[in-house]
């Protein structure tokens, strides 16, 4: 059901943990749905020099968080804001249709962390336009399938 890349990121997740005195922290998802993702970022000269995550969720949620941190590490904020959930899915070698929302969650968690950084530092970014971290977006709008 999962690709080898997903399993590798799930079993050996990269960048798990937290950053003390992080410059931005973003948390999305809710316990009711069964997944919560929290991303910490450290920013220097508009560049994400460190990123860590903590995730409550299924295998693909953990793998998506892990691979997203790998993609984002070292990017500028502007570049990071352009990262899409599709890139996360592609980097994982694909996800089953019902698990696509996990990649959306990773994208949203990153945006929420940057939003937090921007708010604390009085900055604005074009890539954050219209983003509301408190919007309980319906990431679970997926088709129900029978096994």
């Amino acid at each position: 059901m999962y690709t080898e890349i997903v399993m590798d990121h799930f079993m050996n997740p990269r960048n798990v943990g937290e950053i003390e005195n992080a410059d931005g922290i973003g948390e999305v998802g809710n316990v009711k749905c069964g997944d919560i993702m929290r991303i910490y970022i450290k920013v220097e000269d508009e560049k994400i020099i460190d990123i860590k995550f903590k995730t409550f969720g299924c295998g693909s949620a953990i793998a998506a968080s892990s691979v997203a941190t790998e993609i984002i590490m070292g990017l500028s904020i502007e570049e990071a804001l352009k990262v899409t959930n599709k890139q996360v899915v592609d980097a994982l070698g694909g996800l089953p249709p019902v698990k696509i929302h996990c990649s959306v969650l990773a994208e949203q968690a990153l945006k929420a962390a940057i939003y937090d950084y921007a708010t604390k530092n009085g900055k604005t970014y074009a890539g954050l336009e219209g983003f509301d971290p408190h919007d309980d977006h319906d990431h679970h709008d997926v088709v129900e399938i029978e096994f």
Binding site: Y2, M7, F10, M11, P13, V16, E18, E27, V31, K32, C33, G34, D35, I36, M37, R38, K54, T55, F56, G57, C58, G59, A61, I62, V98, K99, H140, V142, E144, I145, E146, F147
Partner: protein, 392 residues
Amino acid sequence: MRKVYLDYSATTPVKEEVVHEMLPYFTEKFGNASSIHGFGQEAKRSLEQARATVAKTMHAAPDTIYFTAGGSESDNWALKGVMSANKSKGNHIITTKIEHHAILHTCEALEKEGAEVTYMEVDEYGLVTPEALEAAMRPNTVLVSIMFINNEIGTMQPIKALSEVAHKHGALFHTDAVQAYGNVDIDVNAYGIDLMSVSSHKIYGPKGVGALYIKKGVRIHNLIEGGAQEKKRRAGTENISGIMGFAKAAELAYANLESHIAHLTKLRDQLLKGILENVDFVKHNGHPTLRHPGNVNVCFEFIEGEALLLSLNAKGIAGSSGSACTSGSLDPSHVLLAIGLPHEIAHGSLRLTIGDFTTEEDVNYTVEALKEVVQKLRMMSPLYDKIRGGQK
């Protein structure tokens, strides 16, 4: 790597004696039991012997046993057949919120055709009380269908008391005994059962075969129309090899019932004790004593069931979970929600079911693996560090 199968409630391996019993029916005794020639008559004799064997394990008469393609067919037949044949009595069915989908989805299908269905609540242990059933009974109640043992949380219902209530009001009593058969001594008459669904692959028999017990005199229409097999009640050439395997498995199950229950209960209690002593923030689900001898169902807080299953699988351990991610829907299992668990706790459920081939080493290995895996996932969980933060 060590392989530990703890998913016996999902299915069981077929026992060697059972395979041995089945083999001649593929190649030598392959006749169609409806044929008049020697090949057919040989199959027919075997078929009737199998029927007598299965009947004996339920303390029933042979002519009350109808072979089917398994538990789901038996459930469909019992509900649809009885409701269709008893329209003059009424159109109301009573069942519970924790039934298997073979019952729940059949009820939903019947509702679309005009049946009224009451889905009874259960208590925190998953029990239905006779008092609650009494209150749900109506003059037009045709059938009460309550599962003997729940497949997820292992809770065993007070079947005798429940069937008495149904009968007092002139309704029939059906039980889905797929999880109970082979794990409890079921005397259909003593328990007051009118119809009972059982399955072969849960008792070390082959898949794709089961039976419906129908008490004499019960009015029921056919589900599968066609030839005159099964006394014109269930068409289709009999799955003779499957039926022979099923009968052998049933015979073995009942000959060894006591030692089977003792073995499972001992390892189940050991596994649960091991988990509760070694992992914190764990909730045990189902009834503490009125339960399946091999069922352990627990929720680990702050982690999600599918992640837990994948991690266990990486250590060679096979279990199952009622989390949303493993159910194929967005909500965690309907059973866990029905016993009142909040979504976030239900997401972290794990069902481990012990069987005849489980060993004490398997149990110890699993406890050790769980300790490690749960801790690893919790260290990744933002929920766990909120708790730890709170404790600082």
